[in-house]
């Protein structure tokens, strides 16, 4: 019996190792037999003239648009005359760490998807190559009004060009609002608290609650709600104050008071403290939730994943006092592709980048609803995406890009956890705010001292003029 077992073991081992060798020999040249969500290799179909083929690796963490991007890349690979082949790799949630690992182990891609939140970090780590030498007058004219300091430009050098972004809105169930006798979505936080209470009083017997958020990860919940409430009220949405160049969580804490009120009223769906975003959407689609706040990806999600019969819509977030003193921040915007400083084929990478930024692709990207275009010439002529509920998320007069807040790593709990603890179990909000200010500003001054971050206070900063 043992001989047999050993025999089987040996065969397995040998089969495994030969196959493994075969595997490792054919990693790059051979295209993967099947396309997958995780990785897709698109290779040029025409037998290109012999000459040095330039393979450009493009990494992105966008998943929602990958079918379209794959198609666009296929066209590029088939039609470009420079013998360039672009390889798309779609990475997942650990994108930033994947990029770090790649750059630290000589596997860096040639092109990277940039988000306004990570561009500064990538520049600071020396991952990106400046684009200034490639910019034509035509491109400069097309993008000039939306190229921002500390978003596209760092230290006077340009690293990326804008395409689209995400707006954030209050997502509300119109049927429930109507049944509760509420005519319009709330304009102020006090109204939001009152509306949530009314809806809960009306619907609690059927398991209907006024408000919900994915508080399993408080920071993520607040980044899709408080951020927008603050920016529309005239304050930076992540607790930073551009006027002083310091963190000030004072305005933030005012918003938190209203959240706490809703919690104390029992207007938030029970179990929200461990609620993830998707179970929350499922409950919203089932008509159990009055309202929440989220990104302009919601219409697509309800179309594809959580088909619903309820009548819902998106509306501008409420503000602190009902007055709009700022603008609703368009997030993940302002940047799209960037060229790796380590790339050996920067010119080829730029050719692809230029291809991606042509009008027809930017327009299609907007019209298909993958993101809301922030490039004025595109936004002006593109048709609006045909997805139910999208109309509430379109860029209007109250939406704009904001300068980026500096990224810092404070000691101890982040503001999301600290504030949510107050919402759930109380405490002294002033002390919590003071503690956050101290820790975040401490981390900020350390980062400035190390040269990782530069901060210039702008006393004239006016959120109403963005």
């Amino acid at each position: 019996m043992w001989k047999k077992a050993l025999g089987i073991g040996l065969v397995t081992v040998m089969a495994a190792s030969t196959a493994a060798c075969g595997n490792s020999n054919s990693n790059d040249k051979e295209s993967a037999p099947a396309t997958s969500t995780a990785s897709a290799t698109t290779s040029a179909s025409p037998s290109a003239p012999s000459g040095e083929k330039k393979v450009i690796a493009y990494w992105t963490d966008d998943r929602h648009d990958q079918e379209y991007i794959k198609q666009v890349i296929d066209e590029f690979n088939a039609n470009n005359t420079d013998n360039i082949e672009v390889e798309l790799t779609v990475l997942s949630e650990n994108y930033n760490q994947s990029v770090d690992i790649a750059f630290s182990s000589n596997q860096a891609p040639d092109l990277l998807r940039l988000k306004s939140a990570n561009t500064g970090t990538f520049v600071k780590k020396g991952y990106l190559a400046p684009l200034d030498e490639y910019m034509t007058d035509e491109l400069k004219a097309k993008f000039s009004s939306v190229i921002l300091n500390d978003v596209n430009v760092f230290g006077g050098k340009l690293y990326s060009l804008p395409n689209s972004g995400l707006t954030l809105r209050l997502v509300y169930n119109k049927d429930l609002f109507q049944q509760a006798g509420i005519a319009n979505p709330p304009k102020s936080l006090q109204e939001m608290v009152d509306d949530a209470k009314k809806i809960t009083e009306m619907g609690k017997k059927d398991g209907v609650y006024g408000f919900a958020l994915n508080f399993k990860n408080p920071k993520s919940a607040f980044e899709r709600s408080v951020r927008e409430i603050l920016s529309l009220s005239g304050y930076q949405g992540l607790g930073f104050d551009f006027k002083t160049g310091q963190f000030d969580f004072g305005p933030y804490s005012q918003v938190i008071e209203y959240f706490k009120q809703m919690q104390d009223d029992g207007s938030i769906i029970p179990g929200a403290e461990t609620l993830d975003i998707d179970p929350m959407r499922a409950q919203f689609a089932a008509g159990k939730i009055g309202m929440y706040l989220s990104f302009s990806t919601e219409p697509g999600v309800y179309k594809d994943q959580f088909p619903t019969t309820i009548n819902w819509g998106g509306a501008l977030a409420p503000t602190l006092d009902g007055q709009i003193k700022g603008t609703s921040e368009i997030v993940s915007a302002g940047t799209w592709l960037g060229i790796s400083d380590k790339s050996k084929n920067k010119d080829a990478a730029w050719k692809f980048m230029e291809y991606m930024h042509q009008d027809s692709i930017l327009t299609a990207y907007h019209e298909k609803g993958f993101g809301i275009s922030v490039v004025p010439s595109i936004a002006a002529k593109a048709k609006q995406p045909d997805i139910a509920g999208m109309e509430g998320f379109l860029v209007g007069e109250n939406d704009s890009l904001w300068p980026a807040a500096p990224s810092v790593t404070p000691e101890g709990a982040n503001y999301g956890d600290a504030f949510f603890k107050y919402v759930l179990s109380g405490g002294n909000l002033q002390d919590i705010t003071a503690d956050l200010n101290a820790r975040y500003n401490d981390a900020l001054s350390k980062a400035v001292a190390k040269g990782d971050v530069t901060v210039t206070p702008d006393p004239a900063f006016d959120p109403g003029k963005l």
């Binding site: 399993k216 029970p270 101890g412 759930l424 190390k450």
Partner: protein, 299 residues
């Protein structure tokens, strides 16, 4: 056999183990021992900061709360897992119809993806329409839904989920230990008129001693180290009630990305935390090993 020949054989047999342990066990340890005195974000400059990380650790209330949570979690998990799995192993080691099927059934939870099963348990336990609450509400056992994943009960729930995934594991280990007990011992005891209980206490327990000592030690270490099921169930929440120390460490190194600005990885402070957690686990394991040494002396 010459001494040289013996030495060569010994070295040959030990070499792979020693080489792997040094390169991938001891070298990382040395790395941590160095970086715990540094501030390092994984890129750019490394700054020597002396004992600052430990000073921070000392006043890091969240870390110490996670240590307390670890003890509660590990204790609860062990209390549920060990007796049930031992009992299952003893029963399924006997003559019982369908025991092979039952073993396979009890083994199944240990092979299913934690991320996936967490979703299922979420559907079972959630407050607004979870199955347990529905059951209790329709029975009239409770009037209001219980927040199984709320601050009060979340720890209990993650313990149950973790134990659910571990029982089959220890059942198998115990079974393997039971297999090694010579069967004639039981037969002669039966002939002498000993009932199942007598046989359990006078043969099974002592003969299982050495294996049991190791199994329980493995269980202690595993339950102190385990955080994956918590990570996917609650991410340590709500408000840190289920944050265990290895999860706390994990979050320092893999900060959860949101739509806001990214947070740096903290390798320096992470090393200090890693060192402290290792010390805690080491002390507990050593203490257990010392206290349980008589289990090994049955032979």
């Amino acid at each position: 056999m010459t001494r040289w020949g013996k030495w060569r054989e010994n070295s040959l047999f030990l070499l792979p183990s020693v080489a792997l342990t040094l390169a991938l066990g001891i070298y990382p340890l040395a790395w941590v021992l160095r970086y715990m005195f540094y501030e390092y974000a994984g890129y750019g400059q490394e700054t020597f900061i002396g004992l600052d990380n430990f000073e921070r650790l000392w006043r890091d209330d969240d870390f110490w709360a996670s240590v307390r949570n670890t003890f509660v979690f590990a204790g609860g998990k062990l209390l549920l897992t060990i007796p049930v799995s031992l009992l299952l192993a003893v029963i399924l080691n006997g003559k019982l119809r369908g025991k092979h099927v039952l073993r396979a059934v009890f083994f199944m939870p240990t092979v299913i993806s934690t991320a996936v099963i967490a979703v299922v348990f979420y559907i079972i336990f959630n407050s607004y329409n979870g199955m347990i609450n529905q059951l209790l509400l329709t029975n009239g056992a409770i009037a209001e839904p219980i927040a199984w994943l709320g601050p009060k009960f979340a720890m209990l729930t993650v313990i149950i989920v973790a134990a659910w995934g571990a029982i089959g594991n220890y059942m198998l280990l115990f079974l393997a230990g039971l297999q090694s007990i010579p069967h004639d011992l039981y037969e002669s005891a039966s002939i002498d008129g000993a009932g199942p209980a007598r046989r359990f206490w006078s043969i099974t327990v002592p003969m299982l001693g050495p294996v049991m000592q190791i199994i329980i030690m493995l269980a202690i270490i595993a339950s102190l180290k385990g955080y994956e099921s918590i990570m996917v169930m609650t991410e340590g929440g709500p408000i840190g009630k289920t944050e265990v120390m290895y999860l706390y460490l994990y979050k320092l190194l893999f900060p959860i990305a949101g739509s806001g600005t990214p947070v740096d990885q903290q390798f320096g402070y992470g090393s200090a935390v890693g060192f402290a957690t290792a010390l805690i686990v080491g002390v507990i394991t050593a203490a257990y090993y010392y206290m349980s040494r008589k289990m090994n002396k049955v032979y």
